[in-house]
Assembly symmetry: C3
């Protein structure tokens, strides 16, 4: 919590662009980490740094929102958008932290596939959020939202399939506990991306 006098004009679009970039960084780090299969303290520092930067920009948005009278779109949408973008990063950090705490080792091809879908989805999230700056981008933004929804459906099927397979094939309950949570959390990242898409689409629709 930092306290300072804020300038009269806050460019929320710049702050959201920054936050979206951190989300993309988090998704890329996540993919790199699960592809390397290294979930040690060192490999997590990078993810933790992004999580911290993401936190800072989210709090910056919340603070400035409290001090700003005229906002480019509905206050509650600004708040929700900043919160959900932060949630994407937090969830990726949580999964990575679980990989370390649960002492999960090696490369899991299902998790790598999830990480790829998550990276694609978060890239579309960034495209959608950055496009809000100008209503001329409405079409591109809404297409990105459709793509995010599509990837959420892909993720749903993937999770159902890998979790079903986990219960079918694994006889080790501890293994099941760890991976069931990991796969379900990975899919949750895509759910949060979909929440962002809903907020973004709703902002566009209100201004249409």
């Amino acid at each position: 919590m930092k306290f300072r006098f804020l300038p009269q004009e806050t460019n929320f679009f710049d702050l959201f662009a920054k936050q979206a970039d951190y989300a993309v960084d988090a998704a890329s780090s996540f993919k790199k980490i699960v592809m390397a299969g290294l979930h040690d303290e060192k490999s997590l520092t990078e993810m933790h740094d992004v999580e911290h930067l993401g936190d800072e920009v989210a709090h910056d948005i919340f603070e400035r929102l409290n001090k700003t009278f005229i906002t480019p779109f509905d206050r509650e949408d600004i708040h929700s958008l900043a919160k959900e973008l932060d949630d994407i990063i937090d969830m990726l950090y949580t999964i990575t932290n679980h990989l370390r705490v649960y002492n999960i080792r090696g490369v899991d091809k299902n998790l790598v596939e999830f990480a790829s879908v998550i990276e694609e989805s978060v890239q579309s999230v960034a495209k959608a959020v950055k496009g809000l700056r100008n209503m001329k981008n409405a079409k591109t933004v809404l297409e990105a939202c459709v793509e995010i929804n599509r990837l959420e459906n892909v993720g749903d099927s993937m999770r159902d399939s890998v979790v079903a397979n986990l219960f079918e094939t694994s006889k080790d309950p501890i293994f099941v506990i760890k991976w069931k949570e990991t796969y379900q959390d990975a899919e949750t990242v895509l759910d949060i991306c979909e929440d962002v898409a809903h907020i973004v689409a709703s902002i566009i629709l209100k201004q249409a």
Copy 2:
């Protein structure tokens, strides 16, 4: 996401009645499915269809809310009510999907009992939500809310009792993982119904 010009007057009460009916449909399907003990792809299609219809009406409410200046009650209450009603249906779909993904077979008498209590509660939810149309129904609506709260308490005790019994009697951790989650999720449906009751009671109180 569909985009269209909306008529000036939206009857939110009609949309909520529709959404409440879908919630009742979902609760009925859920009861039918657990009573039959069939959790295959085919038996889930019906539930998925209801979930899809529920999604559509929820998004319809959100969109119209964005375009409507005069609403029959507080905007945030309209939003919360649509969201919670959607959550009831989503949660029922999630449980049904887990029954399939976790490959749970056969009829479980505890789950059947949960399904009955859920059906009763969702029927009261529909009564409460539909009654909002006219303040003359205030007494009936509030009675339905009291009934929903009562059923939530019933559900709490049921869940505690069946989960305690699960830990006492089962030696199979995989079985415990599956059923602990299923019973807890079933009780969560009743929690969401109680959230609806709180919103509805609050709407009535504000207008009293």
Copy 3:
């Protein structure tokens, strides 16, 4: 749900002070219970009573908020604050109930440590919330918020460490299921305290 005519002037600060005191009571009861290692019906009655009293004051705040036109700070902040304080108490009740339902017996030194950190954090929550009454307290309130954040970080490390240790040392999956959830839920109490700190700090900042 009780219905009555409300006086014109509601002192929300008094109600929040009451709610904060119940949260402190809940945290103290929780510590006492886990230190005694008794998780039977009788020892839970006390916790349940606090939970009930907490519920009543939360609903009182929500009702009065609906009937009050002039509030000492933003309506949504009053709502969020009452909700989060209620969530602290609910979560403590949930954990205690799980200890009974999961038939966990004896004293666990990790849980005792969590209970101590939770008690400290909730005491800081009470200090922060009660300080809102007067902007002269701003510095003390913000210091309490910093302390709550610090304790949340402490809790994060504790949870990671005890859960990692649980997976390393326990060969009993049922034991893992019970304790993983218990430790994670204990840390969640500290997360909710941190949410309160954010709301309180934001209220102070808006008035600065």
